[in-house]
């Protein structure tokens, strides 16, 4: 039996991302979101499971598909939505948008538009935690596609030789844009690649927040004990296409049907209900509360102003004290 409060927590985190992303999709449909978008819909269990295993002071490094990571880590939904709408009240004052959505004061060290460029930064953050003896852990999210970039090898290697408190979280959603993983990776799993760096690794069901959480707890404990990095490959699937106008036609119907039936929100809700951590009524109440929060955040974001044109000059350099 799993601790009941954890199941409620996992359900809440998973659902919160889902409702946030559905709202983003809705706002996008109303043409309120400039630029492009990489939705996290479908992959919610990964961010929920990993962040639930972290404490508040722990750190995460995110990707171009970062909405779910930052929301799960506790980012302010109003500031996050305002950022996606390019408003000055956004967490990055309208300078970052979807691909750079970040809130430092809840432990998000950045989302990046350059695939795989977050891994070296996670190495440095984990090194800093180790050198400053803060007992913090850094979780670094990246995709299956990112694991083909050179920084993957460089960063795993450095994290292993220095036994850094970092958790490498691969979100294997089977595609990098339209390229299927099996054409780009000779091994059956991404996790196997970590063997070459002597990094303990595991493959988990990335549609099941509890499974992700349990793997992450092991990894976090190992990191905090000073035993170094772990790689967790979460096998998951995106509900939508890669980005703004991608209908994901390249995905075979049987494959999509199979994965989309493994709904992340329904999966964790079912487990929580079965283990008597949650009643249908309580689940419904949580949903209503979260929906209200999301609606209020959207209202705030829509009402906010765009930055003044001359704010283009702000924040290039920090003042020398």
């Amino acid at each position: 039996m799993t601790d009941k409060s954890i199941l409620v927590d996992l359900y809440t985190r998973t659902l919160k991302i889902r409702l946030f992303e559905e709202k983003v999709w809705e706002l996008f449909g109303q043409n309120l979101v400039p630029g492009t978008l990489h939705l996290y819909l479908g992959q919610e269990a990964v961010a929920a499971g990993v962040t639930a295993a972290l404490s508040q002071s722990d750190l995460i490094q995110s990707t171009h598909r970062g909405h779910g990571h930052v929301i799960a880590k506790g980012a302010d939904m109003s500031a996050a939505l305002a950022e996606l709408l390019g408003k000055r009240t956004g967490s990055c004052k309208g300078k970052g948008g979807s691909m750079h959505i970040t809130q430092f004061d809840v432990g998000v060290l950045g989302a990046t538009g350059v695939v795989a460029s977050g891994l070296p930064i996670a190495v440095g953050a984990a090194l800093s935690c180790q050198m400053r003896k803060t007992n913090q852990v850094v979780a670094c999210f990246f995709g299956d596609g990112a694991s083909n970039n050179g920084t993957f090898g460089e960063s795993l290697n450095m994290s292993a030789i220095w036994r850094l408190p970092v958790i490498w979280v691969v979100e294997n959603n089977l595609y990098a844009m339209g390229t299927p993983i099996k054409l780009m990776c000779p091994s059956l799993t991404i996790a196997q690649r970590a063997d070459g760096y002597c990094i303990p690794n595991v493959v988990v069901d990335g549609m099941n927040a509890l499974a992700v959480y349990e793997a992450a707890v092991v990894a976090v404990d190992r990191a905090r004990r000073g035993e170094g990095p772990t790689l967790i490959e979460c096998q998951t699937y995106r509900m939508k296409g890669h980005s703004r106008f991608d209908a994901a036609k390249y995905r075979p119907k049987e494959e999509a049907d199979y994965w989309l039936s493994k709904d992340a929100v329904e999966t964790i809700k079912k487990i929580a209900v079965e283990q008597a951590a949650l009643s249908e009524k309580e689940a419904d109440k949580i949903r209503k509360t979260l929906q209200k929060e999301v609606d209020a955040a959207a209202e705030f974001a829509i009402k906010s102003e765009q930055p003044q044109p001359d704010e283009v000059f702000d924040d290039v350099y920090a003042e020398v004290s």
Binding site: S91, L109, P120, I121, G124, A125, L127, S128, D315, V316
Partner: protein, 325 residues
């Protein structure tokens, strides 16, 4: 004041900052106790501060700089070393996409107080992969500061300023200046980034240049003085921020300008500086601005070729005579 080499002054600056603030640490390839850096800049520091704070890394340039970024945004003051400047091409993502943009892209939520040290320049017959001068790449990237100290008397104060600066600072050295000796002020002092130095005063023509070219320009100025030609030599010391005022004031005084760096000519920092002077001091110019640079070729190997590649005293002298015509 103590006479010492550029290398020793630089090491003294690094050492003093490591003593002053235990958040400062060094990372790079072969910088630790077995070697002390390819140019011996960090020799002895690992013995004094330990292998954690003078940290040997694998040969992973992009991740060396990225790790410095991650450490910088979480409370440390990293100084990353890239063994040869040409190899910074491998770290361009972390330098130009991450370090330079993070503060801006995240709306001022963080700053990135890191220093990337590397060495540029030819003169050692080691050809195209170990000899370039790439300052302009970084001058063209908003969010970075760029230091180009050419003298022992400057390098210590500038490395201290770079380490204390809350922004990413690209700190460029030159292979041939490491052994140059000068009187260096003792004790703790900082030379602010963005202040040029008039290395020699003159009234007939201004020569602005970097690294070895300042040394060569000074030698030329001394020769030409015998003919009664008075050359003012300006060493910018940093390219970002660029001290426009010292340069413009000098041009207003002399009315003539020669720009000289070891970079290949097209798109070099000299092109930017010429444009600045054209915008801000055109009316004071008595002759067209003259640029002296390397030709637009990769750096060659053979001594005869490399000597033709790197601007020499003769070319600088010719340029000066031309603008004085």
């Amino acid at each position: 004041m103590t006479e010492m080499t550029y290398r020793d002054a630089l090491r003294a600056g690094l050492r003093e900052e490591m003593l002053r603030d235990n958040r400062v640490f060094l990372l790079g390839e072969d910088i630790g106790r077995n070697w002390g850096g390819a140019f011996s800049v960090t020799k002895g520091l690992a013995e004094e501060f330990g292998d954690d704070r003078v940290r040997d890394t694998p040969i992973s340039e992009n991740t060396i700089v990225g790790a410095a970024v991650g450490a910088a945004i979480t409370g440390l003051l990293p100084v990353a070393e890239i063994m040869f400047g040409d190899l910074i091409a491998l770290a361009m993502d972390q330098v130009c996409n991450q370090a330079a943009k993070m503060r801006y892209m995240f709306g001022g939520q963080t700053s990135v107080p890191l220093v990337v040290r590397t060495v540029f320049g030819g003169g050692k017959n080691i050809a195209s992969h170990h000899s370039q001068s790439l300052e302009a790449w970084f001058m063209h990237t908003p969010g970075l500061k760029v230091a180009v100290p050419a003298f022992a008397s400057d390098v210590k104060g500038l490395i201290k300023a770079a380490i204390r600066d809350p922004n990413p600072v690209m700190f460029f050295e030159h292979k041939l200046v490491y052994d140059k000796k000068e009187e260096v002020p003792d004790g703790d002092y900082v030379i602010p980034l963005g202040e040029a130095k008039v290395r020699r005063e003159g009234t007939d023509v201004t020569v602005w240049g970097t690294f070895m070219m300042v040394h060569k320009a000074l030698a030329v100025a001394q020769e030409l003085a015998k003919e009664g030609i008075s050359v003012e030599v300006i060493d910018p010391r940093t390219l970002v921020p660029l001290d426009k005022k010292t340069l413009i004031d000098s041009v207003k005084k002399t009315g003539r300008l020669v720009l000289v760096t070891e970079e290949t000519k097209t798109g070099a920092t000299t092109a930017e500086v010429a444009a600045v002077v054209q915008e801000e001091a055109f009316d004071w110019l008595d002759a067209p601005i003259k640029r002296v640079n390397a030709p637009d070729t990769p750096v060659p190997f053979a001594p005869s070729l490399e000597n033709r590649f790197i601007p020499d005293e003769k070319r600088i002298t010719e340029a000066i005579r031309e603008v004085l015509k």
